[in-house]
């Protein structure tokens, strides 16, 4: 499994560890996992270190490859760096897996940004809708799917793409979540279109279900319902800032300075909307999301900004400096 160091990747790995069909599990990422994993052997490898990735994966010889190692623009890295890292990881990890004789199935993390929101695009595209990405992130996930498809065709394995809506959750680095939690949130004054999201645990369950069922087609993973930016702002009791056309450029610059950059796919969701048909989830994955879009947004505003933890040893029981010297 790639991308095991991210919040979503760590969650997927911990759920995979509980699966009875998983014999052994190996994880690769540039960052260590966010929590303790019991059965996963972790390999800390940079995405550009092709030789080590190939060596590690061919030695492990996996049956199923779960590729979660993707960088959403402005989530953990700037858009250009994110695109480079994602491309390097996709090429080296999927390419290395193609060399493994035991490989049966490839599962890749993708996004509903792949459908694009150009003029005339469907309001709620299903998996058969044409792929016309109109954002950098959309083009990146389209390229991942294309790479995985080519490899799968060449070596004769199945490939499944889990097309996720924007993933939100505590500690999940998300530009949308960061923007909505700002004290003042911009929204499109003339349209304020609806968008959908997915909670991180539902997203992780979907990826695990895809691996379990050896998914061989794309599937949209979107929480039921939708919400508009203004509705979200009201629910979070933030200050709404209505914007028109060119004012968005200024808002992007100001928001970038205040620590919540608005990448083009998020700007597109706020001005053109972003929905997808999740009707095939039950048939293909055998599960549906537990949390609706509205509830995910409500949870987003309930997550504390700072988590204060009590000291493990009460202050009164700590050893005094004079006792140490004695």
């Amino acid at each position: 499994m790639s991308g095991v160091g991210g919040e979503l990747g760590t969650l997927v790995a911990s759920l995979l560890e509980d699966e009875p069909w998983v014999g052994s599990l190996a994880g690769i990422d540039a960052d260590p996992p966010r929590r303790r994993l019991q059965r996963t052997s972790f390999h800390r490898i940079s995405p550009d270190d092709h030789d080590r990735i190939v060596e590690t994966i061919t030695q492990f010889n996996p049956h199923v490859l779960v590729h979660v190692g993707v960088w959403e623009p402005d989530a953990r890295a700037a858009p250009r760096v994110a695109a480079t890292l994602t491309d390097q990881a996709a090429v080296s990890i999927i390419g290395a897996a193609a060399e493994c004789r035991a490989l049966d199935s490839i599962i890749v993390r993708s996004g509903i940004e792949i459908y694009g929101r150009g003029p005339g695009s469907l309001t709620r595209p299903d998996e058969d809708a044409p792929l016309r990405p109109t954002s950098e992130w959309g083009r990146t996930v389209a390229e991942i799917e294309r790479t995985a498809g080519h490899v799968a065709e060449r070596v004769g394995v199945t490939v499944g793409a889990v097309r996720l809506a924007s993933v939100l959750g505590p500690h999940v680095p998300s530009p949308l979540g960061r923007l909505l939690r700002q004290p003042v949130v911009p929204f499109n004054a003339t349209s304020d279109p609806p968008f959908a999201v997915i909670e991180r645990r539902d997203a992780a369950r979907a990826i695990v279900a895809a691996a379990r069922n050896q998914l061989s087609s794309p599937v949209n993973v979107v929480a039921p319902g939708a919400i508009t930016c203004l509705h979200a702002i009201r629910r979070g009791r933030r200050i709404p800032l209505p914007l028109l056309g060119p004012q968005w450029w200024i808002a992007r610059q100001v928001s970038h300075l205040t620590g919540a950059p608005i990448p083009d796919h998020i700007g597109e969701a706020l001005t053109r909307g972003r929905l997808a048909d999740n009707g095939r989830m039950r048939a293909l994955l055998g599960m549906t999301p537990d949390i609706s879009t509205t509830d995910v947004i409500d949870h987003l505003y309930r997550w504390p900004s700072v988590i204060r933890k009590q000291a493990r040893v009460p202050a009164a029981e700590q050893v005094e400096p004079d006792q140490v010297s004695a």
Binding site: P119, G120, L122, T123, R124, P125, D126, D128, A129, T190, S191, D192, P193, P194, A196, P224, G225, A226, I227, T228, H231, R234, R235, G273, L275, D277, G279, T294
Partner: protein, 249 residues
């Protein structure tokens, strides 16, 4: 003898202002209840805002007073396509969707919202779908009721061309298609919608001929429904004019 006096014609005339006041109060209360019984800030999977829909339908009652018949033919839960005839500038698909939604108490979408600008966004909040077979097919597969209009004409008894691609979406989604005749007046509030029984394919076809033939059958059924309904009358000499869009047939 209060009961006898209450039912006598004279008593009914005397009670008339009170009954009108009660009816008006009841209408106002029900309108207010419709506006407030669902909290604001909810849009569904297709972007329809239930709160805004209620507000706009309540306002639309200023323009249209629609009576709906035949809604018992529609499925309670499954998706269905409803094809209505349209008079030019009458917004037949929009007021039909509003009226049928209130009659069957479930969301009803209409086909033909613009893709851009504030008008497109408003139409989406009210349940509008793009005029695209894939969009309509997706909604029908998701179990939605969808209203689409035939091409608008200037004569009320005429049924314009029905887009067979939209009918094809219904065939692929395996849902029933219902004809619904609409009459309205550009000068009056009264409008009527009569939903007929589902139009079936008379011959099994495996190719695209199925949707073309079904579109023709729906047009025939709509014409029949319209002739059964009769013309709408304004009670003015306008009804005599052949090109007024009101009568002259």
């Amino acid at each position: 003898m209060p009961s006898t006096s209450r039912t006598s014609p004279l008593a009914r005339v005397v009670d008339f202002p009170a009954r009108r006041a009660n009816a008006a109060a009841s209408d106002t209360a029900s309108a207010f209840r419709r506006l407030t019984d669902e909290p604001a800030g909810h849009v569904d999977d297709w972007g329809r805002d239930a709160g805004m829909f209620r507000t706009v339908t309540t306002l639309s009652e200023i323009r249209w007073s629609v009576s709906t018949g035949g809604d018992q033919h529609l499925p309670a839960r499954k998706g269905a396509l409803i094809v209505v005839n349209a008079r030019r500038f009458a917004l037949a698909a929009v007021y039909s969707a509003f009226a049928i939604s209130r009659a069957v108490n479930r969301p009803v979408r209409f086909v033909g919202r613009p893709d851009n600008g504030p008008l497109g966004a408003l139409a989406q909040r009210l349940g509008g779908l793009l005029d695209h077979p894939d969009e309509v097919g997706g909604a029908l597969r998701a179990g939605e009721l969808v209203v689409c209009a035939a091409a608008a004409t200037s004569r009320p008894r005429e049924v314009g061309t029905i887009d067979h691609a939209i009918i094809g979406a219904a065939i692929h989604a395996n849902v029933d298609v219902f004809p619904a005749a609409t009459t309205s007046s550009p000068f009056g509030r009264r409008a009527r919608i009569e939903i007929g029984r589902a139009t079936r394919q008379r011959q099994r076809r495996r190719g695209p001929l199925a949707e073309v033939e079904l579109a023709d059958h729906i047009a025939d059924d709509l014409t029949l429904l319209l002739s059964e309904m009769g013309d709408i009358n304004t009670g003015t000499p306008l009804d005599w004019l052949p090109l007024s869009g009101l009568g002259g047939n």
